[in-house]
Symmetry: C2
């Protein structure tokens, strides 16, 4: 199906934040075929009037655990260890594949409704997540989260099998990474196995690094070096790496991230809520680290709203630096689009609106009071916009939501089943 | 008109966060006449089905400059002084009463749509703001912002006249405070005049205090004491005071705020965006200061979304303290409701849902993916909810918005005129 979006404000995000007014976007065979002013001669099966609307690249949630939406608002305002060991882990132990499926579906509904077109996920029962991605039409980079406990070789084999089953599937919308959970949950010998397996398969690595102060202190106590230096010395960064969090970094850590071109998923909402503090986002960006944005899971956020993360990234770093120019609006939006695409290894496919790229596009309705007056749409995205302004979402050239209505998902059924799963977990 | 809300989850916010399930709220003559389970025998002109809805006290925006929404997204990511002197002040000099009226109307639309039922405002051409409050049905504490420049006695007289014209008007929905802008813009002799005038009239004081590091440093350099100590020594705190910001405080400052029962309006979004840093919210609350929440003006936020401020208050203080238990959800919601009512001197009238209080009530639609699963509604308000979940708003027993539709305002006309005003300001 061809789609023509006409008369819109088009934010390409190519040169930071290029905005073309009264422009059209033409979509064919899942790709962007044209962007510009003249759409008179174009024929399309579907025409969307973009008057008073903003067309932009879909947002990319570069780190999450979507099935954890089943634990949303279940355990809050608690110290970290009781939260994790007394509340979250006992529920996780009860999870069955069906729970992960409905938790994933709930999160995909929430993400589509808030303009997310791609996400990077790490959890277990990941076949269920892949199934949900396949059915719903969203794009994802998926990884089985692995710790060193239990049968390590079986885990390595399962990760291989998962790659073979799902990488490149769902019309190419699914990619698969290896997911060693973190250096504190994966001993060096296991990390070596994961690295070897990933190198053999050509997989990237999705890992948690330097999230809490305690993790970094423990690493120095145990190994005399930071988690970043530790996994670097193990050779992990020889593979394309998506490192979630990276909150507590030394200058040497940042130099390593730059040198090894490690992608960082900054999760301001989760880092604040879990009391982990403030990542050195401006320092990383200035040195040349690719910093993307993520929500983390809904057990520590408690939603998957990337507009909140954009807003937080733009606000918190200004206060941290005492500098109003830190992380300007365009940078925060870029973190959630192009930087996210790079972090997922998809920068040639998505992340900007460019001819030849895949059509992962969201349309915002600007006819809302908080978009008036209309001075600067990029600033308004970072400082005024709401997830609920997202009206239409297109992934791979297919409309997943139109005029606020989801096209591939029965939302009521998903909410009903998610609630049912939650009830069975806590009974 | 009588209104009966049935079958709802009712969050009274009386004992921090009392939640009554499957309850009704009965409203008569602008007041809450009943809250509870049994509504069988009640007759009402209007019945609202609260199934899958949350009924709670309206949010109170305890510090803003609503007409500044005309400058929303006009000047962002700039250093403070160029932002103020080269961008904002030149526009402010061009303002005429008509601009202030339409800027105020735009903000009132935005506030009602996001669940705000009362706000505390300080600006100029305040007759226009009062007119907008009167027409739209919202509740407000209004003050003319005053600096010491120009004819001081005329300013004092105008403040008196404003009090006489508007205090207690609009069916009692308008209260008036004196608005000396800040100690750095009001010399001590002028502050004395304001204090005398306010004492004579029985007015409270709305003032900016200790917003930026520079302001506090300048105060120490000039007077050898903090802005808080300075105005305390002038006798300002002998009157009920609403002190906006209070970001940079010493322990002695906090002791003064406690001792003099000063109300603080914390504006996390604005403080972060202007690089002013992090207020000591937890320290103030623990010592017994009444800390409310505000958005500040849309030139430094850039919206009037109190759900974002609730979320920021709950998140940022956890990171600051490295403590996940800092500012739990119920506390953040209380800051935006009861604490706000206290800050505006309205705690006997609004701020909680209690029999005998005025019916300032908002209803949220919980049938959204981010409200599932349904473990803890108070946590969901602080961590998951969106301003766009507000479906119905009642002020003084009158419905201002029902099922997302504004009843007292022509929204399209307001957005059109706000845009027109903005265009005339920048041409």
């Amino acid at each position: 199906m061809n789609i023509l979006i006409k008369n819109a404000s088009v934010l390409t995000m190519t040169d930071h934040a290029e905005l073309i007014n009264n422009a059209s976007v033409f979509i064919e065979d899942g790709k962007i075929k044209g962007i510009g002013g003249n759409s008179e001669n174009l024929k399309a099966d579907k025409i969307i009037d973009g008057t008073n609307k903003l067309v932009m690249p879909g947002l990319i949630n570069s780190h999450t655990h979507i099935a954890m939406s089943l634990f949303r608002n279940y355990a809050d305002d608690l110290p970290f260890w009781p939260w994790l060991t007394e509340r979250i882990m006992p529920l996780e132990e009860k999870l069955i594949p069906e729970h992960v499926y409905w938790g994933s579906m709930l999160s995909i509904v929430e993400m589509i409704k808030s303009g997310v077109t791609s996400f990077a996920d790490m959890y277990f029962f990941m076949d269920e997540v892949a199934k949900a991605v396949d059915e719903t039409g969203i794009r994802a980079s998926l990884s089985i989260g692995m710790s060193d406990s239990g049968d390590q070789d079986l885990k390595i084999n399962n990760a291989k099998k998962y790659y073979d089953s799902w990488h490149g599937k769902a019309d190419g919308r699914i990619t698969v990474m290896a997911g060693p959970h973190a250096p504190y949950s994966c001993e060096p010998s296991f990390l070596h196995k994961v690295i070897n397996m990933a190198a053999e398969k050509g997989m990237g690595i999705h890992i948690h690094l330097s999230e809490s102060k305690k993790e970094v202190e423990d690493s120095y106590n145990l190994r005399g070096k930071s988690p970043i230096k530790h996994v670097h010395d193990l050779g992990l960064f020889e593979l394309p790496t998506l490192a979630a969090h990276c909150v507590h970094l030394s200058d040497e850590d940042i130099a390593i991230l730059v040198d090894k071109k490690v992608n960082v998923a900054n999760n301001p909402g989760s880092n604040l809520k879990l009391g982990n503090g403030f990542a050195r986002v401006e320092d990383m960006l200035k040195k040349g680290v690719n910093v993307a944005l993520g929500t983390d899971g809904s057990a520590s956020n408690n939603n998957l709203n990337m507009f909140e993360e954009i807003n937080l990234a733009a606000l918190v770093n200004k206060a941290l630096k005492g500098d109003t120019t830190s992380i300007p609006a365009a940078t925060a939006v870029k973190m959630a689009t192009l930087n996210g695409a790079k972090a997922l290894g998809l920068e040639k496919e998505v992340g900007t609106l460019e001819v030849g790229k895949k059509a992962d596009i969201v349309i915002l309705d600007l006819n809302k009071p908080h978009f008036y007056p209309r001075y600067n749409l990029v600033a308004s995205l970072a400082y005024s916009a709401q997830a609920s302004d997202v009206e239409t979402v297109i992934v791979d050239g297919k409309i997943l939501m139109e005029n606020y209505e989801l096209k591939t998902i029965d939302v009521e059924k998903v909410m009903y089943n998610a609630e049912k799963c939650a009830k069975s977990l806590i009974k």
